[in-house]
């Protein structure tokens, strides 16, 4: 494929369907950053239109303009052919636009019914509103297979159900156009399938759906048309049937990418890390880990799948020395203290356990620190960085940072730039460089590619594989099932603090893992 093909805008006209939304030449700048540049999209009524792009491509900005959160600097929005100005979200709702955010906007201790009428009450008295809403909700639930109890309190609902409440809220406000921002990020595969069923049902009833995602598979599965965004611009608008995941990925990134990770057969060594009976109660006394046991050999990647919040984060933090827990752990038959004085991140690092945390912005990096200072985070006591007993050798750290940034292709390669001024992918590269370059015996990784662009994902995956091939043990936690499936040698699934089982990656499939993610134990226990 040549570059003009990638850049050329292909409008495939299908005049039979009227347009639900048309954007004409939308531009939006924040300071000197051009978030959206001359964006034109036509969304046909009664279709599912995907918008795909890497993090920071400008998808969310565009949708925020459509929903009245931002005002476009230039351009026009036409809804059903009528030029419309959307100064705030109330106007967007009146224009028939409903939005389901990535982070739900629900009152946790309100019932479903209360959440649905919140902001759409009919009068001063709630009684009539409730009656009306209850009827409408019953109809909607039945019509679209939404299966939500109107009297359930939101905090007791699963994430998938909460999302359906958000959809109900939009439908109750008579939304004709539904925008979903990364809707499957927090769902199990089964819940995601259910969501897609609901979306197809909505489409059949003539609703228009805009699906924002970075997952290629979802675009291919469910959309009719797809617009690809890169660096604030629409680089392609296509019929989904005329494209492929490989093609979309290349349009997103602007160059050839490897979607499939090339990985040699594992070459296992001795057992490096063993965990037995790991149990953790958090500050509120809630059991977060119960009786977790597994082991990892040298040269092995153990992937931990699971819907976010099922104990994976706690598992990483316990092993990294950030949290205390009960149970036993051994590093090469040496005891790893899970409580007491030596249960801290400093002594774990000294033993050869490195940790790439899930939350790089909060934990892995200090956003106000410069890149070189961040490179010293956790290693500031290392003799390499000391002049003498009293003074640190900042220059040594600076030089090393420059070298690591060069090897990991961190851009811009400026060690004195504050972490917050790097893109997500480059921030993650700084963390990965810091932890991997020391060649630890055990590497704990949480969500290595969350919010990271495809180019950097590829690179980070290669680094992880390289460390495994160098005979190190790796524990990989990710909510991206694709990532777990493609990187891991063995796959464990966590549900509600339990390790549901560990399967050999070559002998399992998405269905089986998906069932385990939903808490349904596999027929026979895997090898531990």
């Amino acid at each position: 494929m040549n570059s003009s093909d990638i850049l050329g805008r292909q409008e495939t006209a299908a005049p039979s369907l009227p347009l639900a939304i048309e954007l004409r030449g939308i531009s939006k700048a924040f300071g000197t950053v051009q978030a959206n540049k001359d964006i034109s999209i036509q969304v046909k009524a009664g279709t599912i239109h995907g918008i795909i792009g890497e993090n920071g491509a400008g998808k969310s900005t565009l949708m925020s303009i459509l929903y009245g959160f931002y005002k476009a600097d230039e351009g026009q929005i036409l809804i059903k052919g009528i030029p419309t100005i959307i100064p705030d979200s109330q106007s967007a709702i009146r224009a028939g636009i409903g939005m389901v955010f990535q982070h739900f906007k629900l009152v946790q201790n309100f019932s479903v019914l209360e959440n649905v009428i919140l902001g759409a009450e009919d009068g001063a008295l709630l009684g009539p509103s409730f009656t009306r809403a209850r009827n409408v909700l019953a109809d909607l639930s039945a019509e679209y297979d939404l299966d939500v109890d109107p009297d359930a309190v939101v905090e007791n609902l699963s994430v998938g159900h909460q999302q359906r409440v958000e959809i109900l809220k939009a439908l109750y406000r008579q939304a004709e156009i539904l925008i979903l921002d990364e809707p499957t990020g927090v769902l199990t595969p089964a819940e995601a399938n259910h969501l897609f069923r609901i979306l197809r049902g909505l489409k059949a009833q003539g609703k228009t759906i805009i699906l924002i995602t970075h997952k290629l598979r979802e675009i291919m599965d469910i959309t009719d048309h797809v617009s690809v965004m890169r660096q604030g611009q629409i680089v392609s608008s296509l019929e989904t049937s005329e494209t492929s995941p490989q093609d979309l990925a290349e349009r997103m990134v602007g160059r050839k990418v490897l979607l499939q990770i090339s990985k040699s057969a594992p070459n296992y060594g001795d057992e490096v890390l063993r965990v037995e009976g790991l149990t953790l109660h958090d500050e509120q006394g809630v059991e977060r880990l119960s009786d977790v046991a597994f082991s990892i050999r040298a040269g092995e990647i153990l992937g931990i799948a699971g819907v976010a919040g099922n104990g994976q984060s706690h598992l990483l933090e316990v092993l990294a020395g950030i949290r205390n827990a009960q149970g036993r752990a051994f590093l090469k038959s040496e005891v790893l203290n899970l409580t007491g004085k030596s249960a801290n991140a400093q002594s774990r690092r000294a033993m050869g356990i490195a940790h790439i945390p899930e939350d790089r912005q909060d934990m892995g990096l200090i956003m106000d620190f410069m890149a070189w200072e961040n490179m010293g985070l956790g290693y500031h006591n290392d003799p390499l960085y000391q002049h003498n007993r009293w003074f640190m050798n900042n220059d040594a750290l600076l030089d090393e940072t420059a070298a690591k940034m060069d090897r990991f292709d961190v851009r811009p390669p400026i060690p004195t730039l504050a972490a917050k001024n790097f893109s997500g992918g480059n921030q993650q590269k700084i963390v990965v460089a810091r932890e991997i370059e020391r060649v630890p015996d055990v590497l704990l990784i949480g969500q290595p590619t969350r919010g990271v662009d495809i180019g950097a994902i590829e690179f980070i995956h290669q680094q992880i594989i390289a460390l495994r091939d160098a005979g190190k043990a790796i524990l990989l936690v990710s909510v991206e099932l694709d990532e777990i499936m493609s990187l891991s040698d063995r796959i464990g699934v966590m549900f509600d603090g339990h390790l549901m089982g560990v399967k050999d990656a070559t002998q399992t499939n998405v269905n089986e893992i998906g069932l385990m993610m939903a808490g349904i134990a596999p027929p026979q226990e895997g090898i531990i």
């Binding site: 300071g31 020395g321 950030i322 774990r348 940790h355 934990m363 892995g364 200090i366 500031h380 900042n394």
Partner: protein, 364 residues
Amino acid sequence: MEKLPKWADAFLVPLVSVFIAFAISGLVILAVGEDPIAALRVMIDGALGSTYGWGYTLYYATNFMFTGLGVAVAFHAGLFNIGGEGQATLGGLGVALVCLFIPWPHWSLALCAAIVSSALFAALWAAIPAWLQAKRGSHIVITTIMFNFIAASLLNYILVNQLRPKGSMDPASARFPQATNLPGLDQVLGLFGIPFSSKTPANISLIIAMICCILVWFLIWHTRLGFAIRAFGKSEKAAVYAGINPVRITLYAMIISGALAGLMAVNTVQGEANRLLLNSVEGAGFIGIAVSLMGRGHPFGVFLAALLFGFLYQGGAELALWTKIPRELITVIQALVILFTGALDQMVRRPIEITFALFKKKEH
């Protein structure tokens, strides 16, 4: 929004803030029927027009350097130590005890002992709230404020019931022996042949304050402890991830912070009063907060801001002496400076950032 260049962030923003504060002060002076230009001239003449004026300005500035540095160190650890007042009070007690009860052969030895003792007393006083926060979760802002009151009451008790010489009606200690008196700034500068007024309270403590500025700079940016303090201050989660012990860092930072505030007593108690008075701190602990905010927590910034506040103190006193402007107005001027440099920083910063962004756009 574009980031400001470093020099603008460090100097332009505070300067504009000070300028606005002065402009509004001018309006207030105008409103009470006085001439603001003449008032400014009185202040400058009084504070900077003679070595006598300079002596007082530097004496006050010395206090503010110590307390400002104290606040700055705690601030780097994300701790808001507003107990400088109480810590300096305890520092004064430390100075008084070593000066009164140990017969020193030479002032230099007395100085060393006073430094150690004042720092120790104040550090202990700061360590209690630190421990309460680190271990028990009591918020340090609340506890340090309360410790100011406890310190004042404690000193009151000790002065009235223990240290007050028999027969004296004054709640103050006896005079320190002659041998503990510190050399004035005139003697220090005299060594270099610089003439300076001998009638001012400025003394060798100024040099110690300046050395502390340098030491704090080294501590914060060139030591492991400083690294840990800053990491903890910016993100506790990241610090724990890095294996930094929050309890230890909270304690260390507050001990250093308190010790710096306590050193102020060397200047006031040993350098000026030569005895322990009931209120020798005189609000310098609180001014230290403003000084630290204005100095952006950087020791050099603290140094400059302390000079500015020293000028305001001395100039303000002169203003009350030579004009009909009431003494209270000085407090208004000082408050305006604190308001603009501390609390209203964003109000000044935003327009400057926008101006810079406009210029940048034009260049493109």
